[in-house]
Structures are given as C-alpha cells and as structure tokens.
Symmetry: C2
Subunit: 344 residues, 2 copies
C-alpha cells in the first residue's frame, strides 16, 4: 500500500472504497448481534432467498453452511417460491434474504407472504426500503454500493456466527479478526490484477460469446458476472457452467478460437477446476484462468481461504473485469434497455 497515492485504478476511487470498507467492517457487529438473537429464538432450518444477483451472492453461504454444518439449508429463487411454495418451509424456519435496492419485486412479494405467515425474515437491506419495512430483522449495509466483497463480509459475519453458535465453526472470532483489514488487501489485489484485467478484457470483450467456468464457493460469483454483468450490463452472450457439468456437454464446443474463462477457487472443488484447466489449455488458444490462490490476504490462516475466495473473485473477475470490459466495448455498465425501465 506504500504506493497507494501514485497508483491509479481505472474507474475506482481507492480512498472512498477503503472508507466504505471500514464502515462495512464496523457493521459486522450488528450482523453478529442479529445472529445471536435468531439463535436464541431457535430455528428448524434455513432458507436463503434471492433472485438474480442476490441468489448468486447467497450461493456461497449455501456452500459454506453445507461445508461446516449439518443444518438443513435451501437456496430458493423468490419468483419460484411465490408460485411453488416449499413444504420444508415452516413457522420455525429462518429465511435470509438481501436486496441492495430494497425493492426487488419478487423478493418483496415473497417476504410479504412469509411475514404474514409468521415466518422470520432477516434481510440485508436498508431499513427505509419496502423490504426493510417488511422484514422481521434488518441488517443494514452502511453503504449501498452493490459491491459483492462488502456484501460477502456481512453475510459471513451473520451466517458464520450462526454456525459458530451451533458449535459448527469454532474459529469465528479468529476469522473476523483476520479479515478486519481485508479491504486493504483487496485494494492490493485489484492493483496486482489490473494489467491482467486489461489484457483479459482486451482479448475477450469483443467476442460474441464466452464460456465462464467455476465451481464450489465461486459458482455464484461466476454466474453473477456472466449474467448480471455481461448479459445485463454489456449485452454480451455467455455460457456459465460448473467445472463438473462442463465435461457432460459443453466441452464439445471447445476448439481453437472458442473463448473460455475459468475462475479457479481454493476449496474442495479445485480438483474439478484443474481438470477443466488441463482440458482447455489443450483445446483452445483463447483461454484465461483467474486463480484466487495467486492473491494474498495478509495474516489469513489457510483454512479460511475458501471463505474469502468469493471476495477475491468479486474484486478481480467481477469488479475489475467489468470496468475494463466497459472501456473496451464503450457500452456503459449503467445502461439498461428493459430491466427496471418499465413494467413487463
């Protein structure tokens, strides 16, 4: 961080990011307190409720709950829940949801129904939004930047605390202590990744179609980038596929010139990623690998790496690549022709 004042990241205000990061770290205390309350009340099982980007963000919570705990957890899509319901969802279930805007239509409708049935909903959103008004308990992000790395730390502070209180994740305090400077590391990681982001965007942003592959804790971030950034904000065609499923169909598309970006993680699924890497290196010359293991988090125990890898993917694959795709395509990330522009 010595060179901070001389380093520039395109379309990124380092000072503002670090202030927001400090505020996010401070807000973790509230997330922990809400987890303590919910645990004291007890719960039978957990429903993670999202749609689009929030569904993708919650996927890493599903990942680590299944990793550490026997707790029964379901990740459900809000629009589907609204029509299908779910018979495992009971009075004593705990529903966890999120919305930066606080007015995502499908989520607001779902939470309205849930609360009317007396089912608890913990929402990561601002209190004054429609979702904030409906939810049983609100965990407020201090800044509504839509940055996934901030969101993930708040999710961790809440959901890992739930596991801690069940006896499934003993080192909660260590994890929170070791990540209190993580946003400084994530600035360094952005700086380290910058030239690669530029290079990858230059090579891939003009392609009519790209295959995006990931697995385990990084799957959600992979879908988020390919769907919510490239499809929605750049109108670029993508195919997101897990490292496991890649070998049961999508592999046949690969040949020289076919663009593939693999984001390698650090959890149990890494061996599936390695298999994809080996295959793609052999059969396409248009291949990039973003490996979260290449980026250090100062003072972090190795056992916590799978938990922070989604934040690293959010900083690299997602945030930095977005900006450089935008520079290459000259297609403004903020522009939508349909989404939330009118009723459909």
């Amino acid at each position: 961080m010595a060179e901070l004042e001389t380093i520039q990241l395109s379309k990124f205000d380092i000072e503002e990011y670090l202030q927001d990061g400090d505020a996010t770290v401070a807000a973790c205390a509230e997330a922990k307190a809400v987890a303590d309350e919910v645990n004291a009340e007890g719960y039978e099982n957990i429903f993670l409720l999202g749609i689009g980007g929030t569904y993708d963000e919650l996927d890493m919570v599903r990942y680590f709950m299944n990793k550490y705990s026997e707790v029964e957890v379901h990740l459900v899509n809000a629009a589907e829940l609204n029509v299908l319901g779910h018979r495992r969802l009971k009075k004593n279930s705990l529903v966890v949801t999120a919305s930066a805007s606080g007015d995502t239509k499908e989520i607001v409708k779902a939470v309205d129904n849930l609360v009317a049935q007396g089912i608890r909903v913990v929402a990561f959103t601002r209190k004054e939004t429609p979702l904030g008004q409906l939810a049983t308990k609100v965990i407020s992000a201090p800044v509504a930047t839509g940055r996934c790395d901030f969101t993930y730390l708040l999710f961790d502070a809440f959901a890992l605390r739930l596991l801690n209180l069940r006896g499934d994740f003993d080192r909660y305090d260590d994890f929170m202590a070791q990540t209190k400077n993580i946003f400084h590391d994530l600035v360094d990681i952005r700086i380290k990744f910058e030239s690669r982001a530029e290079e990858i965007a230059h090579k891939f942003a003009h392609e009519p179609y790209t295959i995006f592959i990931a697995s385990g804790a990084l799957w959600g971030e992979n879908v988020l980038f390919s769907m919510c950034v490239l499809e929605e904000m750049q109108w670029i065609r993508t195919r997101a596929v897990t490292s496991a499923e890649f070998f049961h169909g999508t592999l046949e598309l690969v040949e020289p010139g076919v663009p593939v970006i693999l984001t390698k993680g650090e959890d149990e699924c890494r061996e599936l990623d390695n298999r994809v890497e080996k295959f793609c290196h052999e059969y396409t010359d248009k291949f990039a690998v973003i490996d979260t293991a290449e980026f250090a988090i100062d003072g972090l125990d190795p056992e916590f790496r799978p938990l922070v890898s989604p934040m690293i993917a959010a900083a690299t694959l997602h945030e930095r690549l977005s900006k450089h795709y935008e520079t290459e395509t000259k297609h403004n990330l903020a522009y939508r022709r349909y989404y939330r522009q009118f009723s459909y």
Copy 2:
C-alpha cells in the same frame, strides 16, 4: 393412431418404440416393488444423484417430491459429491441414481463410496454394468434407448410410489393406470408436432446461439436438450435460463433476430413462462414456443398433467427437434470429438 401405417416420422421407428414402451410399462411393477422394499426399511431423507443428462432427468423427480411431500430431498451432482461430500447424507439416507450406460465414471465412484459406508443406493441401470454391480438395488430398464420419456415413467413408478406410501400421493394407482397407454399418445404427439419440429429446426438450427427457457417440471428437460443435445451432439452454442432468472440479466440480450425457444409447462410456474412469452413476443421476431398443454394424453386427469409434461417435452422439444436439427445441420448426433473418446 388410425393412420399409423401411412405416417412416417423421420428417423423414428414407431413399431419398435411402441414395443419398447410396452416393455417399459411392464417394468413399472419392478420399480414399484423396489419402492415398497425401501419404504419398509425406512429412510431419513432422499438424495437424487446424477451428472449431465441424469442430473437433468432427476430434476423433475425433485420437482414433484417438493410439490407433493415434506420429505427432505436433495439433487446432487456426482462429481461435486465426490469432492465435497454432504453432511445431510447419513447412514439412513436413500440415494437414487441412474445411468443408461451403467459406467458413468463420476457416478460409479460416488456409488462405490456410498455403498462402502453402508448407504443404500437404488440405481436405474442394467444389472451387469459397473453401476448395476455396485448398487444396493437395481431397477432395470428393459431397453437402453436413452429415451427420456421411458426413463420418466420408470422414475414415476418408483418415486411416486414412495410418496404414496408416505401418504403424500394418494392416487398412485390411478396415475399408473392412466399412463399405461401413454407411449401411444406420445407417438400421436410426435406426429402432431412433426411439421412444427421441421419448421423450428429449419429456423433455428443454423443460428450460432439460441436462448432456451423453461421452468418447474420442465427445467431439467430444457437443460438436457440445450446441453446434452445441442452443445454435445450438435456443437451449437446455447444459453439455458429459467423463466424466473431470465428477467434478471438475460432479457437484456433480446432484440430482433435473437433466437429464443420457450418450452411452456403446465405446473405452478406456468405464469412465469407466460411472462417470458409476452416479453419475447414483443422484443424478438425469432421466437418459438413449445407448449406441452397443446398435446392431449387420452383419459388423463388434469391434476396429473404436470407429471407427464416432462414426457411431452422429451418427445417434442428433445427427441423430434434433435432429429430435425441433425437433418438441417448434417452433423451426426452420434459423433463426439472428446466426450468418452479418450481420457481427460
């Protein structure tokens, strides 16, 4: 069926299909008997285990188990289970899997581990295959055609019987009685769909990319066609997306000329499909809808329609379209350059 002898379906032997269909209906008794045995032993929860096409086929079992029952059910990918494990998977869990070849590497490895731990595995496969040798109980398909409509009826005979024995699906006998001639209906449906199949394939098979949308009970069949047929067997780029998620990213890609195929089902998610249909009719001229509701099953109660809609999608979207894509592209459906051709 009066005109049967004069009608031709391209690359489809009606007589052979009906014989295989009769054999499949007869084999349902074995599926039911295995369900009776498993139920008598008891089980704590259910894991549906697949990869690629079998994962997609089992998705409709997950759908109707969640629809009718409180039973805890998880659909898991075999390659992921092999590296991640699953803490809800216990000694008294019931694992259900399938493999037409009986030698799918990831499934054989998973079942080997499961059986070694004393966990029961029911496999839909042939007894003499590696999977058949390992599994605790085998339900043999009388024909290994890889036809999903046959597979679905056997899955129904087994899994709906499990629900019936739990008290969650009272009309099991009615359902099985009303579907004993279903393969005759599915021939009629193929004949009725033939000119549309030809027309859709002619319009879409030469496109470099197509978006495939479905939801609910048809989601698995939609992925199966887009990934296991078009990607794997035709080397055509596709994007499969649920009707719910479509509105959170993919919609921004749609404009005149962008190819979209929606397969509409008959379950609770139909209203999500309707929303997609309305949107796509407005924003692209390259749009086809396959609606399972247009195809009659003689003597079937309306409440059973969502259960048979995957078979209708298998006959239309999948089987007939595959053949007509092949005719258009002149790319042999049986040819693979990588998949199962060598070790990777």
